[in-house]
């Protein structure tokens, strides 16, 4: 059983393109990347179908879609303020992609969630920290303001603020990876121990609930960090709106 579990936990390389590139080696395509491609294809086709015939007077599916879009805008603007509006499409993409990735284990056929692969969560976290620092750069009005923001709220915080550049993506990436991997391991063990019905109940918690919560926590924290960097810009926007 242990051996089987270890085998399941491995990030299998599905195929390798034998072009030897210095330092990083030949192009290896992991199982997680293949699953992501599949998910992307499904999402893209679904989106194209849903937005194909949009009209000013909405049909029921279109109204639902609009409601969803308005909801994510409202949710993220609550965390990031008016200035964070331009980051909503990216964060929504992450929420959708990560949420579906976390729950994909439900469909069976031996498909494993891509977020079980730490490399995938590293990619998500890298993009998050790049976006956070970009927002802070923009929100503080250029390089000088960006550097100054490291001395806030007081100069003593400088080392902690610098460390946060590493800590934030690390915690984002590890939390997601740990949760999905943990849920995966527990589910495999439960499936191994008992038959069919009981794993379904647990799967509701570990796959659906935990998967959704982790995706939510990831984008929530990212938007919160972005919002922190945008404080000054939001303040200015609010001021401008008031003085109007």
């Amino acid at each position: 059983m242990g051996e089987q579990l270890i085998h399941e936990l491995e990030n299998r390389t599905v195929f390798t393109i034998p072009i030897d590139i210095p330092i990083v080696g030949p192009i290896r395509i992991h199982e997680s990347v293949i699953v992501m491609w599949g998910l992307m294809a499904v999402i893209m086709i679904a989106v194209l179908l849903m937005t194909r015939k949009m009209s000013v007077v909405p049909t029921k599916p279109q109204a639902l879609l609009e409601m969803g879009v308005k909801f994510v805008y409202k949710f993220f603007e609550g965390n990031m303020g008016q200035a964070g509006r331009r980051y909503v499409p990216y964060l929504s993409t992450v929420l959708l992609f990560m949420g579906i990735s976390n729950m994909i284990g439900l469909v069976g056929f031996g498909i494993k969630p891509p977020t079980k692969d730490i490399n995938v969560t590293v990619a998500f976290a890298l993009l998050s920290i790049i976006l956070i620092e970009m927002a802070a750069y923009r929100g503080n009005g250029g390089f000088k303001g960006f550097l100054k923001s490291f001395l806030k709220p007081m100069p003593v915080m400088l080392p902690i603020n610098i460390m946060e550049i590493v800590i934030r993506p690390l915690s984002l990436c590890m939390r997601l990876f740990g949760n999905v991997l943990g849920a995966f391991v527990v589910m495999k063990l439960i499936e191994h121990v008992c038959g069919l019905i009981i794993p379904m109940v647990f799967s509701m918690y570990f796959d659906v609930f935990d998967g959704a919560i982790q995706a939510y926590v990831f984008v929530f924290l990212t938007s919160l960090f972005i919002g922190e960097g945008l404080e000054e810009e939001n303040h200015k926007l609010k001021h401008a709106a008031h003085s109007k």
Partner: protein, 161 residues
């Protein structure tokens, strides 16, 4: 389990970015464009409705003004007509009176003329009679013209007396 793989990280990054760009264009782009379009349409409709209400109000005012103008005009026309009628009737009456006066006057003149003429003819008759009588009395013919002048002078004297 915890081995990092450059290629997987790279492909994941690319996957996320590709999906992001796709959704931005085809989901958020389309939905937001549609929402903006709808907001624009609603705004347009509201503006149009407001404009139309203003126009209707303006039309109403115009109509009311026109109505009151028309009433004034009608009143003025009636007053003018009355004035005209009065003036005309006065003129006609005056004309008629003048005409009547003239007719009376001419009748009077004619009468006077007639009288004069009859007086003159009567005088002539009288003179002729007198001369005839005198002829008979005198038994001879009087020189007509000279005697007639004497008779006329006599009659004039009588008249003046």
């Amino acid at each position: 389990m915890l081995e990092f793989d450059f290629w997987t990280i790279l492909f994941s990054l690319i996957n996320i970015l590709v999906l992001f760009l796709f959704l931005k264009k085809f989901l958020f782009g389309r939905v937001n464009a549609m929402l903006d379009e709808r907001a624009r349409l609603v705004q347009e409709e509201m503006d149009k409705a407001r404009e139309e209400a203003q126009q209707a109000e303006k039309l109403r005012l115009d109509y009311e003004n026109a109505m009151s103008d028309a009433k004034d005009e009608a009143r003025k026309i009636i007053i003018d007509a009355q004035k005209n009628a009065n003036a005309q009737s006065a003129a006609i009456t005056q004309q008629a009176q003048e005409e009547a006066g003239r007719i009376v006057e001419s009748a009077r003149q004619e009468l006077a003329l007639e009288r004069e003429r009859s007086v003159a003819s009567a005088q002539n008759e009288i003179v002729s009679l007198a001369m005839e009588a005198a002829e008979k009395v005198l038994g001879r013919e009087i020189d007509d013209d000279a005697n007639r002048a004497i008779m006329d002078a006599f009659l004039d004297e009588e008249e003046q007396a």
